[in-house]
Symmetry: C2
Subunit: 374 residues, 2 copies
Amino acid sequence: MAQKKTTRKTTAPSNLTDRVRLLQKRLRPSGASALLLTNPRDIRYLTGFVGDDSWALIPLRSSKAYILSDFRFDEQIAKEAPHAQAIIRKKSLAEELATLANRLRLNKVALQPDYLTLAQRKPLAKHLGAKRLLKTDDGLLQQRAVKDADEVKAIRKALAIQQQAFRETCQFMKHGQTENEVAAYLEYRMRALGADGVSFPSIVAADANGSLPHAVPGKAKIKAGGSVLIDWGARYNGYCSDMTRVVALGKMKPKIEEVYQIVLDAQMAAIEAIEPGKKLSEIDKVARDVITKAGYGDQFGHSLGHGLGLDIHEQPVLSGKAKGVLVPGHVVTVEPGIYLPGVGGVRIEDDVLVTPKGHKVLSDLPKSLESAII
Amino acid sequence: MAQKKTTRKTTAPSNLTDRVRLLQKRLRPSGASALLLTNPRDIRYLTGFVGDDSWALIPLRSSKAYILSDFRFDEQIAKEAPHAQAIIRKKSLAEELATLANRLRLNKVALQPDYLTLAQRKPLAKHLGAKRLLKTDDGLLQQRAVKDADEVKAIRKALAIQQQAFRETCQFMKHGQTENEVAAYLEYRMRALGADGVSFPSIVAADANGSLPHAVPGKAKIKAGGSVLIDWGARYNGYCSDMTRVVALGKMKPKIEEVYQIVLDAQMAAIEAIEPGKKLSEIDKVARDVITKAGYGDQFGHSLGHGLGLDIHEQPVLSGKAKGVLVPGHVVTVEPGIYLPGVGGVRIEDDVLVTPKGHKVLSDLPKSLESAII
């Protein structure tokens, strides 16, 4: 019953080792002897391996990670995760896992309940035994909220790409083009500039469509003298970035101009308030107070921002209901908005890193009212 | 405990009614009183509603479908599925489902084990009672394999878009461009021509990279006198299309030319063999025999084709191991290939509809050896 395995002698990069150690420390009290990773982003986060259709096993009392995969990914694992032990399966993933768990004498294996279907659990229960399966909150969403230097670097690179693509799109954009045409061009330029892809489907919303927070780009036309809300992001090395800008062709309608300045003031005030130890709900309140005082509180119907990383929506959430405080390494969007049905919407969004002493805004496209006229 | 509901008086389009009736007939013997849909593609297939974060409930002894969603999708449901009853949730999906199931006196609710996580099942078991949950293979993958006229129309439209984008990309492609640049342009044009998006990440593989069946476009350059394998698809109204062509800039290397003709002969022979009642494995064999006879059997390491529809990979599968036969309404790819490590690869892929009397090739980009020189 010996499994075909490829033994690597490389040591894991120190940031991966740190991530695994923290996970092990957190999970030991649960009684688990290992964690089975079925979420591809978590596998990437803890091993470096990017392929799909694969699982990873992290024993809690050993420094060796195991990747259960198939022949298609043998070379890729060797390249991306040379420190991990690759198990190139000949039987099903569940059978290979059972063999491995027995070999390592693992008593209890913790699962990721958010990333395992009923259909996937069934053969696990059969081959490993249902009693050895543990549904543990693995806390990885919380752990991943705090970014290390490599992660911040990837987000910065994603931002550099999305900002350059935006500049090119502002050159490209003309009266009479459809939202869909502009979105397609913007995404093309991000991809051509080296993005893995988009971090989410871009929003390009002309005039009144800008009042729908999750508008899908359609056949509506960009018009001279009208405004366009663009919410877009790039993915680089797996990491997401996310920004929003509102621009107007030639001139901006007075009502949009009025709320633009309010949203910008609210955003700047909230960014200014960001520092370690501050309550998440407090940051939301700073922006909301500015908008409410200006009389548009009811037109700001969503929370202020969210963490981002390997997922476009991560912890922490900047909302009135959120518990907890900011800590160094959090990367959050700050994106207040005012939406006027039938008229249009303004949202301004930047990505902000919480530093040991305060914060650093990672995005730097201009956002003054003047710069919004193109 | 009355649920907020929006009652619509519209009747469902007849193809949706037919789909629901067939599902009900198939599932009644299972003892279920309703099926809970958690796969968004199945929700779309049976109700027409396209949003996410929503579930649908199909009782097996009533013609009314229920969509459990939230306020963001209220208008969208009214537009896309006016015949369904929308339940705009105030509590969790699981709680709303339990209220609905009690109101309808549903005894057993069948789940979709491939599309329900352990974390999603937990509150269902709590509010509905674990004994009322039934893990049934709902057979929708088999049902969806047979396309109706509306579905074929959407696939045709996706093909028209991807073919036009390909023609434009052939004009755009020049010596010295990277694979990634070409892939980005191709996807841009599909989007600009009205595609919802791509049906899968495009493969643009220059020269030797063409020998990797799932190459990711990278920084390798397209060269005059070299070959490029392009495997791409568009999505329209949710439906996928999928084609592969190999082109050469100016002239083709003799070895590629040799295998090109063999692959083309294999593909044409397999397409010719397609008709209702034929074994799936037999179609694979027709193509494989041509390639094996030419001495390249070992260089054709994947199955011949697959169904497509709302998913890019659907039933039926054209492989040596597949059970079953072709039936009218199947839409399959036919994509033999020969891969020569270090040299390059050729794969030629078209989408074929099984008709009552034979078949109809839905794609029509030229594929003769002459047409491959651009």
